[in-house]
């Protein structure tokens, strides 16, 4: 069955999820992996769905909730339903400090330089409006054989350059 990537964003209010998923259900869609959250007061939905339909049909089906909730909606066909990410060990990085442009890009570039895959990333601007603090938490997949010391050192150097704090640690998962 064809798969689709769908993004929908709009000012947050109750009923968005119900309306969007209802329209997709009626169009023959089945939700698979999804992530939905509030970003800066906007409710942002990212969905991978399977549907026996075309992208145009899904867009048409979503036009009613899009206009009712003033949502920006994008539908794209994707090649594979489930794409395997590179294997690696789970690590988490926490980075925070005075807000300035380029924090995400600089750290993402440093991580890519070590072939570290970012598998989840959340950023929040917190603190007072005149003293904003940028906080970023990343879930990482670190390839086996990575020089963890060199990775830590590179990120620490970068944190020093940017004047932010950075901690990096393996995630210990206990199988019970």
């Amino acid at each position: 069955m064809p798969h689709f990537a769908i993004c929908a964003v709009g000012a947050d209010r109750p009923g968005i999820v119900a309306a969007v998923t209802g329209a997709l259900l009626d169009a023959g869609g089945n939700l698979e992996d999804t992530s939905m959250t509030i970003l800066g007061g906007h409710f942002a939905m990212m969905l991978v769905i399977a549907a026996d339909a075309g992208a145009e049909e899904l867009e048409a089906a979503l036009s009613a909730p899009a206009s009712a909730f003033d949502l920006t909606v994008i539908v794209r066909t994707i090649e594979e339903g489930v794409h395997e990410s590179p294997e690696g060990e789970p690590w988490t990085a926490s980075i925070y400090g005075a807000d300035r442009p380029g924090i995400v890009h600089r750290f993402a570039t440093a991580l890519a330089g070590h072939d570290v895959n970012i598998v989840d990333l959340t950023t929040r601007v917190i603190g007072e409006p005149d003293r904003p603090v940028y906080a970023m938490v990343l879930d990482l997949s670190v390839p086996k054989g990575t020089d963890a010391g060199a990775l830590q050192a590179d990120l620490a150097d970068l944190a020093g350059d940017l004047g932010v704090e950075c901690t990096l640690h393996p995630v210990e998962v206990d199988i019970l």
Partner: protein
Amino acid sequence: MPVRTVLALPDHRVKETSVPVEVIDAPARALAADLVDTMRASPACVGLAAPQIGVLLRAFVVDVTGHKKAHSCHGEVVLFNPEVLVAHDPIVAREGCMSVPQLTGDVARATAVVMRGLTPEGTERVILADAFEARALLHELDHLDGFLFLDRVVSADAVFHRKVYR
């Protein structure tokens, strides 16, 4: 005793409430042996509950020997009809479960537990456990009531993909 198949979602048996073991007899001891052998067959596994092998009886095994987060360690602990007498000081840590492949989740559990149950010899045993052993005991006890870590995750963004553990 045989290594049994560990059931995983969506098998409904891991969501059932198990019933007490009436008598600690030979079949009960055979169940205990199967639990131990099946747990041992997965090196990363530190505990297994009877419903995970399709037996809806209140029994589990835990062994945190050698685990770096363990403080108290009672070695191989098999308990029938376990109950919590005291549980306090919860902390959040990431758990995985043989019955929920491909996901892990952050769960708050007590770090100090007093648990009582019956041994395979039929005698009462009271265990005072802390740190990781307390978490393991509470995780396994949850299985007897049909609760998985997914029922206890601290928030929607506290569930993560993981490699499949074998």
